[in-house]
């Protein structure tokens, strides 16, 4: 599945999240392709993905996209990320 990680600038928090999403997916044996984006351009590219992951503060910025948006509260908690991924496995 294709996952888009979104942060404000597209270079910081989304990159950290991408690393841990890839780790969580590997632990679950899931095949994922993870890309990153800033919130502004995410509206355009979200539809090309199966799932969008971002922070609670930025989730409202993505309203209007047809792809499901999930907020991650602790980017450094692999268990929280796995719980979300498992719902879409």
């Amino acid at each position: 599945m294709d996952i888009l990680c979104v942060c404000g600038m597209g270079i910081g928090t989304s990159v950290l999240l991408k690393t841990n999403v890839e780790q969580a997916a590997a632990d679950l044996g899931m095949d994922v392709v993870v890309t990153t984006s800033d919130a502004g351009s995410a509206k355009g590219t979200a539809n090309m993905n199966d799932l969008v992951l971002t922070s609670a503060e930025l989730a409202p910025e993505l309203e209007g996209t047809t792809t499901l948006v999930e907020a991650i509260s602790n980017f450094m908690d692999l268990e929280e990320i796995k719980d979300v991924l498992e719902r879409y496995a």
């Binding site: 990159v15 950290l16 841990n20 780790q23 980017f75 450094m76």
Partner: protein
């Protein structure tokens, strides 16, 4: 293995320092980026402006803020700074306040810092390493933990 010496030199650290508020904490992170030659002073204001504009989303885990802005003329090279606060400060994050570690990030483009960011993510998901990073006494010890 990722070599942190270039991205996170001694000048980029401020350990067990005091900040009055979140703006102050980001200024300390900005100072580390300036002192290590990664950014011009203007980048510090850009990092504060990012939070003013988009909210405290940079507080991505309990106690951890990743202060940064976008690549701009203020960024001379990609680099990090590491500010460990003696007393945690509130950023206004619903889930992850208060913050005791502020990592400053300056990226010249989207890719140059990917390896170090990935190494940081791998360290910070590991509770043992998080504890070791909080207890470390010197920049060299912190780099060694991130590189391990």
């Amino acid at each position: 293995m990722v070599d942190f010496t270039g991205f996170l030199p001694d000048e980029a650290f401020a350990l067990d320092v005091t900040a009055q508020n979140w703006q102050d904490a980001i200024r300390l992170a900005g100072q580390g980026l300036v002192d290590s030659g990664a950014t011009k002073p203007g980048y510090t204001d850009e990092m504060i402006e990012t939070v003013n504009k988009l909210g405290p989303y940079i507080v991505i885990a309990p106690g951890l803020a990743l202060a940064h802005s976008r690549p701009s003329d203020s960024v001379m090279r990609s680099g990090l700074s590491w500010v460990r606060l003696a007393e945690p400060v509130e950023f206004g994050s619903k889930n992850n306040d208060p913050v005791s570690l502020v990592i400053g990030l300056a990226g010249r483009d989207e890719n140059e810092h990917l390896e170090v960011m990935s190494a940081i993510a791998s360290a910070l998901v590991n509770p043992g390493k998080v504890k070791a990073l909080a207890d470390a006494q010197t920049p060299a010890e912190i780099r060694a933990i991130l590189e391990s």
